[in-house]
Each structure stands twice: as C-alpha cells, then as structure tokens.
C-alpha cells in the first residue's frame, strides 16, 4: 500500500510544528538581542578559540589567537584601498580615562573594557550599546601605571574580566550579569588586575600586577564554569638565587657585586616572599605541546638590589608551564638581578623560526624593554638570537646612584607592555618603541607593607628629546627591516593583517596604517585622544572593520578620552 498521499499533509504538519516550535526561540532571541533561529552562533567553543588564527570574522583573543601573533587573516582592507578607510561609528564610554583595551568580537557582538574595570557589550556593526557592567570596586586598589584594563576573555556564553581590586569576574555574555566572582589575591598587599585573562580548555588563566609593591607574583588557572582554583604557579620560587649570572642575555656586564650579595643572602635569607615578579599580560598557548609561555616582570624593589641578593628568579624571564598542571617546564632570564625595571612585559609570540643552523624550529618571540627582540627555541626556552637594538642604548648597565645615573633606554623601555605582531609570511615581527631618557636613583628602604616600594626613583630628563618608533624586525636574522620614527614615545599595540598592513596608534591621537613590507604610511586618522591601545579587526555582514580604543594613557600622560572607533571602507 502506498502512503504517498500522506506526504504533503505530513510535511505541512511537520513544518507547522517546526514553525510553532521555532517561535519561542525567535522571541527568546529578541529578548537576549541576537541569537538566530538556527542556534546561537555567539557561544564560543574551544574549537573556535583553537582556530582563531584563521577566523576572519571574529576577534576572540586579546592578541588575536593563542600564538599571540595579532595577525588578522582578512584581506578585504588592504594596501590598495586602505586610503578609503573611514569611521563607521564611534562609541563613547562613561569613563574618560586611559584605555588599553583590545576589543573582542564574537559574531558581531563587541566587548570592550575601560579604566576602573568596566565592560561594555556593543553591536559591532552599529556601535549601539547592548549592556554595560560597572564593577563595584572595593575601597582598596593598589596598582601601577594607571587604572587600566586590557580586555576580556570569552568562552562559552561567558565573558571574563580582571579588576583593579584583584578579582576575577565571570559575566553572562548576553546580559552582563555576574555569574561568579573570585578574589584572586589581597589588594592591600599590592595585587591588582589590569590584564586580560586567557580562556583555554575550560580554564581561565590570569597573572597579577604588583612588582612595585613587594608581592610574590603568580599565574593562576580557574575553572571557567565554577571559578574553582585549579592550579597556581609562583613566579618566584623559594630558592630564587639562581646561578649568580654576571651578564645579561646580550652578554653585557651587569656590574653585580656577587660577594656582597652572597653576604646579604647569608645574613638575611632568600628574599622570595616580597620579590615581585608580576605577570602583566596574556600567556601564549601551544596546544600541541600543551604548554603556556609568558614573561615575568621586575623584582621588588625595582631599583634597590642591595636587599634582594641573587638572580631574583624568575623575574625578567620567559617562563613555560604545563597547561594542565601549571608545573614548570623551562625558563630564560633576560636580566638577572635587574635594578632598572627593564623587565619582561610585552606578551610573547609563537612562530616558527630559523635556529642558528638555519633549520626551522618552533620559536618564541619577546620584545624587551631593553630595546631588543629576543628569539627563542620553544622546546627548551633557550635563546637563539636577539635583534639589533630598536632604540638608542647608552651607558648600559650603569648602576643607579643616589643623585641619579643616566642610562638609555629609560625605565619605560624599549618596548613597554605594548603588544607586538608577527607576519609569518614575511618573517617579520613589528614592535612599537619608546625613547624616553631617564635618570635612575637608588635609595634603600624596608618593605612598606603594601605601599609603593621602588627602592629609589625614576626621573624623566625633561630637557632631552623624546620620540618613538614603529620597527619591523626580521626574526630569522635579527636585523631591522624598516623603522619609522614617531613624534612621541609609543605605547599600546599593533596589529598586522593579510591585507599587507600594520595598524598602530600614537599618543597625539593619530591612528595609522603602514605597508607591512616597506613601512610606507598609507592612511591616518586623528582620533581626538591618545590611541594607546592595541587594534582589533572583524567582519560583519560582509564588511571588514578595524577597531581601536582612543582614551589616552596614564603612564605617558597622553590626552585622555573615551572613544571606541570602528573603521570600514567607504562605499
């Protein structure tokens, strides 16, 4: 018997049921402002996070992808048409203060953060606000270099934020409501969060501020769903003295008085409890090796080495841990017993590099406050080469004195916290630099229980010129390929794209695009406030956008503002 006569009515019935079943989903989608009939494309899966490097629609990580190349694969905006780039929209946040945020974009929803740990969710096509989270800050915040926030992490249907009062907060991505909140460390002792967290394999990774306050630094991993602490790695081991290295990674004499240090060690013991070693920025993640790579900040107190004998491990170092357990795998210390605050803060990048024999190996790149880019072997953290100096260096490593000793670079570097970007096709890594001459003053004082503990002072030499650079370095040879001088020291970040461009902004408000091969300046826009944040990119409805925050900067005192500006090509 044939039942074909039933096909049409059954089909109609089935479609009808589907239609009615879909209605609540559609209505629900409107309530939450964005889910589709076909399921919610806004849920961030680990698969999406893992392949972010080839995702030309979203921008899912602070530094683009787990390797932190900040290389955006979309080429709709390119060297031939970037001259037509113009603002699509401008959103102004309530907070008018230093902006260091990397915008994150998930399926057309943008998450940006402001100083004082606030978060906005915006429609990435129109700039319209969807929600605004205002963190209830505790009365005690102890931080360096501005009340900044460098962005959120995204995973599942959650958005994760570090706060100035040293909390890790998990928000519902659709509503901005708090799902859980954890106190990461005690703000009274100098711990604080200005960095963006990293989401990987159901874990949220975060470091800490505090090298100016005598903390004991760490990287912690929390369960993304519950906030349970999974592991914690101390960046300062109980035996912090190391190998008594007398020279830095570039072979320069550090002028250490090893005998005096050993005597102090014998008298006072290991200084690990208040030795500093904050981790300012996201770790890079290698999912094949199942390891993370991050850099550790300066020892406390910054300028006074007399009371902290030894190499001060693992300050001023590249460190690699097992992702699952947080156990130490390897490290490389750039400066042992640093007394200049020329620490390791710019987030490392994972790319394949030529080793000394010319063979391609997995590598790690780091841009130092010293002014060099360091190129490592990823397997054992060993140094393969370091680049030519990108900024003037003079009198390295003169010891700080009571009256002040002049040395270049000044204590802001070099390369500061600014993100770099790498174009693996060109074999180039791009850094933004500072030339800001300073004198280094030393004056000893005991641990002050959470107050600023520098062991002296840094003083900008007001009578000397300051400026900056955008520098492209061939990481397979260490040679500078091109360098463009800028009017003022640079701080913020830079992004490369498959369109052959690098984008970066300046303290005077200029946001620029350069040809990534040659350094030709192809486009600029005056943003009205310092552009001192790393740019992002994304695609919505077939249009590629470039987006950047223009809010100025506390550290270099660039003009403050509150703009998030998205650019696209003129029609």
């Amino acid at each position: 018997m044939s039942f074909r006569f039933l096909i049409r009515p059954v089909l109609v019935a089935v479609v009808g049921v589907m239609f009615y079943a879909a209605l609540p989903i559609a209505a629900g989608a409107q309530e939450v402002g964005g889910g589709t009939l076909y399921g919610d494309m806004r849920t961030v899966t680990q698969d999406m996070l893992s392949r972010a490097a080839s995702d030309g629609n979203n921008f899912l990580h602070t530094n683009g992808n787990y390797a932190q190349t900040r290389y955006y694969p979309s080429r709709q905006i390119n060297t031939s048409n970037v001259g037509d780039l113009r603002p699509a929209w401008i959103f102004q946040t309530e907070v008018v203060e230093s902006m260091e945020t990397s915008p994150i974009i998930v399926d057309g929803i943008m998450y940006v953060t402001t100083s004082f740990s606030q978060v906005y969710a915006l429609d990435a096509a129109t700039g319209k606000q969807i929600w605004h989270y205002k963190h209830k800050m505790g009365p005690i915040t102890t931080y360096c270099c501005g009340p900044n926030n460098r962005g959120v992490a995204v995973d599942g249907d959650m958005v994760y934020l570090g706060t100035l009062d040293a909390k890790l907060v998990a928000l519902d991505a659709k509503t901005g409501k708090v799902v859980w909140e954890k106190q990461v460390a005690d703000p009274e002792l100098g711990y604080s969060e200005t960095m963006a967290p990293t989401a990987v394999n159901g874990k949220i990774l975060i470091g800490t501020n505090g090298g100016e306050y005598g903390i004991r630094g760490f990287v912690k991993a929390y369960d993304a769903k519950t906030g349970e602490l999974l592991w914690s790695f101390d960046t300062i081991p109980e035996n912090s003295v190391g190998v008594w290295a007398t020279h830095d990674a570039t072979g320069r004499d550090l002028h250490r008085d090893i005998a005096a240090e050993k005597a102090t060690l014998a008298a006072q013991g290991d200084p690990y409890k208040t030795l500093g070693g904050g981790v300012w920025q996201n770790p890079a993640v290698d999912l094949n090796l199942n390891r993370i790579f991050f850099v550790v900040g300066n020892p406390s107190p910054d300028l006074d080495g007399g009371i902290r004998p030894g190499d001060n491990l693992y300050t001023d170092s590249l460190v690699s841990l097992d992702l699952d357990t947080g156990k130490y795998v390897c490290h490389f210390q750039y400066i042992s017993h640093d007394v200049w605050d020329l620490d390791a803060v710019s987030p490392p990048i994972l790319v394949d590099v030529k080793d000394k024999s010319g063979k391609m190996v997995p590598g790690v790149l780091h841009g130092g406050k010293t002014g060099h880019i360091y190129i490592h072997n990823r397997n054992d953290c060993s140094l393969i080469r370091y680049s030519e100096a990108m900024v003037p260096q003079e009198n390295m490593w003169v010891l700080p004195t009571a009256e002040g000793a002049r040395m270049l670079p000044g204590a802001n570097g070099g390369v500061e916290w600014s993100t770099m970007t790498a174009d693996a096709n060109l074999g180039l890594v791009y850094a933004i630099n500072l030339h800001q001459p300073m004198t280094y003053h030393v004056e000893s004082s005991p641990y002050p229980d959470g107050k600023l503990w520098l062991g002296g002072a840094f003083k900008v030499i007001a009578t000397e010129e300051q400026w900056g650079n955008v520098t492209a370095v061939d990481y397979n040879t260490g040679k500078i390929r091109w360098k463009v001088k800028t009017a003022q020291p640079m701080i913020g970040g830079i992004m490369a794209t498959a369109g052959g461009l690098v984008f970066t902004g300046e303290g005077n408000g200029l946001f620029k695009a350069y040809d990534s091969e040659t350094g030709s300046a192809l486009w600029k826009f005056q943003a009205g406030a310092g552009v001192n944040a790393p740019p992002s990119s994304y695609t919505v409805d077939g249009k590629q956008y470039i987006v950047v925050a223009a809010g100025g900067n506390t550290q270099l005192n660039y003009k403050r503002g509150n703009n998030i500006i998205a650019f696209t090509l003129a029609d």
């Binding site: 009365p139 004056e443 959470g450 107050k451 503990w453 900008v460 100025g552 506390t554």
Partner: protein, 191 residues
C-alpha cells in the same frame, strides 16, 4: 598656629576624648568636632598649612591615621589625637571625611610658574599614580585643589626626610629643587 591655641585644643582633646567603639559605619560626632576645629567646619581649614580632608580618598586617610597611631608619621597634634582612638573609629572618620564634598580653596596659582610646574610634574611622572587630574584613587591622595602651603610643606618634609611614611615619594622629591617644589605645590593647589 599660635602656641596658646595649640595647647587649648590639645587640652580640650585630652579631656573630651576617651576610647570608644562606635558602630563601624558612624564617625562619633564628638570626634568629628575635634577634627573640624582645625580642618574646618565646612571643610576648608582657616590655616593654609592644614590640609583639606573633605572629599579626600578614603583609604589614603585611613592609612594616614593608622600611620600616625603607629608612629610611622609624626605630628604633635595628630599623634595625640589618634593615640586614644581605635582602628574602627579611625576607619569611620576616614569614611566620613571621604564622603564630604571637596571645598574650593579659592587659590590661584601664579601664571609664570606653570611651565616650570608642568615640566617638574612630567619629570616625576606624577600622574602615573595621582592620575591625570591629580584626583588620586584609593591609597593615592588627591592633590588637586589642596592647600598650597600644606602641599609645599609636605613635599619639603618628604624631601628632607622629616615625613617618612612613603619612601618612594621621599626618594622622588629628594631629586627636586625647592623652587620646583614650590612651583608644583602652587600649580596643584590652583587646580
């Protein structure tokens, strides 16, 4: 402040004050009255060597009161006042004053010092902690619109190792001339 007045105030304090344990949220009215006798009924002290407290950052005020009590900061009047106050009271006082509106000090900085002041403030990167408008945050005090004489005296006390409860500030200010300090004090008071 003349000697007779000083002795009278201290005398009154010693009679009036007794150890107290108020609720954590309230500053005892008696004690606040002691403060306002020097720091001003409406927040503006008559003596320009005495700092404005109204609207100052809560945690900075609390730390200063604790420092007076522990001897980390020394001032004849303040040390006597806090000697008999417990931590809860200190906290409540800090909270109380931080919630008041900052008064206008009516001070105008000399125009011809501005560029010297800005150069000096830039060299010390003061905004890194005190923020762009010198409004302070949490443990970092507001400097903008503070009493000019108090600011100058304070900075000189840091420079000359009289005030010792912020070693980083002491080291930084030691690198400035007295002229630079005067220019900075005037500029900040005029904000």
């Amino acid at each position: 402040m003349n000697r007779l007045l000083w002795f009278s105030v201290v005398g009154v304090l010693l009679i009036l004050l007794s150890p107290s344990t108020p609720s954590a949220n309230e500053a005892p009215t008696k004690t606040v009255a002691v403060c306002t006798s020097c720091h001003g009924e409406n927040g503006l002290p008559a003596d320009s060597n005495i700092p404005i407290l109204w609207g100052q950052e809560f945690y900075y005020l609390y730390v200063q009161l604790k420092d007076y009590k522990a001897g980390r900061r020394a001032n004849e009047v303040m040390s006597d006042i806090v000697a008999n106050l417990d931590k809860a009271t200190l906290r409540a006082l800090a909270q109380h004053f931080s919630e008041q509106p900052w008064p206008s000090n009516g001070y105008r900085a000399p125009d011809d010092e501005e560029s010297k002041a800005l150069a000096a403030l830039g060299a010390g990167e003061c905004v890194q902690c005190h923020l762009g408008g010198f409004e302070g945050n949490s443990r970092i005090p507001r400097l903008a619109g503070q009493q000019a004489d108090y600011l100058k005296r304070t900075m000189l006390e840091f420079k000359n190792k009289v005030r010792m409860n912020s070693p980083a500030i002491g080291s930084l200010l030691a690198s400035y001339s007295d002229d630079d300090i005067a220019a900075m004090a005037h500029y900040l008071a005029g904000l």
